[in-house]
Subunit: 368 residues, 3 copies
């Protein structure tokens, strides 16, 4: 592929979003939101660097608390995460020892310029609000004062005492394609039909759904009509009946800003986040959640690691990963069909969040 | 290399073709022609995807016949070649089960939207005419009704009953550089002089040639003067005489649109096609051809696989591949010399094919 | 990283040099200068190709002398360095045997066009002045008549009879970042503090320096105040005292056009050159130099290969390499501090070299 062709494709990639201008502009995601970025136990003494919404963010645990700063020394732009800690509560750039306060981002010493360095106190790195809940590190990206974490993180998910287990991977593809794939109603019935996870499930051929608004900003798809073995005129029957497969109550699938998916099964709930990295990558965060007692937690964890992790979070969701990888670089005018009502509902939801100040205030008010 | 430098180079790459505007514009080749793309036996039950003239093409054999469609589902652009066959005579996209008629490209079912999906019959994928002849799959790329395959494929080559054996490889470099290298008169005498294939051949140092028009759209180079060991003023003699090399009647080399080379040796004929993939790659198709009886075919095949394949189609033509790889990204104002008359004749040939309608009609007429 | 982001970054990369327009424009270095490019013993019978200041240069040793030509055949741009030598004093392009005089670059024969080829004498490749001194091949890049090598190469370095040993590597990053890192005063005290090379050295925490002009175009940093273990207000002491480390007289560090660093230790001198390749790469040339008798040379060579090469030229300078790699693609508005006076002095030095004719004349005059 030539450079020019590639540029055209990246450009066209967003053309199909023309009816949803706010969504179209959100190639790097929506600011003024909390995002999960890392497992708590992935962050020990060594600092880490993550890129979300196009921002390079330095994460460092110091005496138990986690701090987040822009991962670029203000001097010449070397990543702060390459540096080392000389004094507690601070972190120093590896190149010239510029030393920043972890809590405020203020330059408190430029070690190689001596104790009277005139630059001290004149430079400040952008710092990001951080919370640790449900075993995850959450970062707020935005210019406003942050609302409480509860404004974005599902209340059920961050309430202590539940079994939470999952997977965080860096994936190719714009975050919007991943979110659309997550809430997309139709593809599971064809793409996932032969996944091992589906072996004993009787899967519909097609559905009619309506989209309903739930509280807390969620929208959900609710089936109004379901078809199993179906005759297609002039073609034949699809799918073949499989006697060993039995029908189960379907899961209720919901999505909300800023890109959080919830799938409620009968016994437990599956969550996904699509955290934008850059225009072509996202963090794909998959967690199962179940509220139960201490013994129950152990049993569910066992169940997760014996099959749910491998069959669902890995093999099944890898079919999705493959689709998301194929979509983005390969721009193509989209031609939506009836089941894509779920996708357009999600796009509209992103549009409704009018004006950033309003939305933050509103979200803050809802919780106050 | 920086992005900017690279772009400049790709741009300049075509600057040297300024005197041949139609040729210059044909970075992705000439539409309204038949191209060989695949061996017949490479296409069994599984579909294949090839990219020619910048078009992604899905190829599928169904009940013996080969069909070609645009390799992008109209829904969201997933390659159709990743899909599977649910009903005979159709093929379904892996993502949502959009099901296309192989012969027409029409959307005959959107499986996950049920039997009454309103989108059926409203979408059609571009389909490409296909022929199978001489053990190859040929595809027509163009907006016009196609002329018969004979308009582009050499009559001798596609007449049944001949021994045909060869090689298809994806190579780096714009197709025009490969075509020019093929018909170039002078380089063989220097570049290929020490190739094993040439071990017993007494190769001229230089030639004077004239270009003649043959029938069926071919132009050929015909030597008018040949020099062997030569004294270069102030330098010395080149090449050294080699007593074990004996002179042979030279081969007659011809080229025609849309990029087909023919080298007639005394006993057999070598064909090449340079099928544009994208601006920087082409399919390089090399085949030997000999008309003979059934026993003769076996003997020629034996000869091909014992040495012609290795010494000629592989080692000898790899010296050409190396030159074509070095040419394209490395733009440089060209400075032609006398033997390049063969190259400029080929460029002129591409210009003469005035107007696409005219040429198709003419070619059709010629055969009718 | 998307193509667009990358382009923006490459563009911004030079924004920080806005106050030094000549320096800013010198992304590919300063023409009208001599540069070392290769060890003499790396150039035997086979030709070599090097790229400096964005120019591809063909180097060939012929009967003892070294010649440099533009590494592109004028015909179609194939690198001359892929060719072979047919006649002494000339070199022939591998593709069609265009044969150039090594001393002048003139086309003296186009072998495959016979002895009377009309193109002979009408084409000339750009040739570059070459010198061999101190075991290195030096090339002059410029449009003017070259001054003697002494105008650019340090007199001490190229005077015969010294021990010279070192390393030439291709590194990532624009040459200016490498030069700035070389003359940068402050970083060593933090970045290199724990390098093995520094194990027994008592390293200051900070310094005040002044920049002085030396003869022959060098500028040097001279310390005016030195701090060792230091108390930083509100933070604590840095660095910790190490009883086994002892203070040594510091080295005198100097730089000059076109990017030559000299570090005078007590017993020997370390030289570096940052030779621009393209916008994102440079040749990093590191050599130690010591004038001594024949036995002394042997001993110094032994010392070099037992530890100086590994601990200084490799491990210590690799910490620098790492910083230079992190700087360029990651554009960031720079925010200089007091010790960066050494860097701004170097940038100013590059500005002072007003007008190329003047500078060449002046340099020539100085030596005449």
């Amino acid at each position: 592929m030539t450079v020019d062709q590639r540029k055209v494709e990246v450009g066209e990639q967003t053309a199909e979003f023309a009816r949803w201008p706010r969504y179209r502009a959100a190639q790097l995601g929506f600011a003024e939101h909390w995002y999960p970025v890392l497992r708590s136990r992935q962050l020990r003494r060594r600092p880490r660097s993550v890129t979300i919404l196009g921002q390079d963010i330095f994460l460092k645990r110091d005496r138990g608390r986690v701090y987040a700063l822009h991962d670029r020394c203000a001097h010449r732009g070397i990543p702060l995460s390459r540096g080392r800690q000389v004094f507690p509560g601070t972190f120093s750039c590896i190149y010239h020892g510029w030393t920043y306060d972890l809590a405020t981002g203020e330059l408190v010493a430029a070690l190689t310029d001596g104790p009277d360095s005139p630059i001290c106190g004149k430079v400040r790195l952008r710092s990001f609000p951080v919370e640790e809940r449900a075993g995850l590190v959450w970062v707020y990206v935005g210019d406003q004062d942050p609302p409480p974490l509860e404004a974005d993180a599902p209340a059920e998910f961050i309430t202590p005492g539940a079994m939470v287990a999952g997977r965080i991977t860096q994936r190719f593809g714009n975050w919007r394609y991943a979110a659309e794939n997550g809430f997309d109603e139709a593809h599971a019935k064809f793409l996932h039909r032969n996944a091992m996870w589906m072996l004993f499930r009787h899967f519909p051929a097609w559905m009619r759904v309506k989209i309903v608004e739930d509280d807390d900003g969620w929208i959900s798809r609710v089936p109004t009509e379901i078809g199993y073995e179906t005759d297609y005129p002039g073609l034949g029957q699809w799918p073949k009946g499989r006697p060993w497969r039995f029908k189960k109550g379907g899961a209720r699938v919901s999505i909300r800003m800023p890109g959080t998916l919830r799938v409620r099964f009968r016994e437990w709930t599956h969550y996904e986040w699509y955290v934008p990295t850059d225009a072509e990558h996202h963090l794909y965060i998959q967690f199962m959640h179940k509220r139960t007692g201490p013994v129950g937690r152990l049993l569910v964890r066992l169940r997760y690691w014996t099959y749910i992790h491998w069959l669902f979070h890995w093999r099944f969701n890898d079919q999705d990963r493959h689709m998301v990888e194929l979509l983005p670089g390969r721009s193509h005018p989209e031609r939506l069909f009836r089941p894509d009502a779920s996708i357009t509902a999600w796009r509209k939801l992103c549009e409704q969040d009018h004006g950033i100040e309003l939305s933050v205030d509103a979200r803050r008010g809802n919780r106050a």
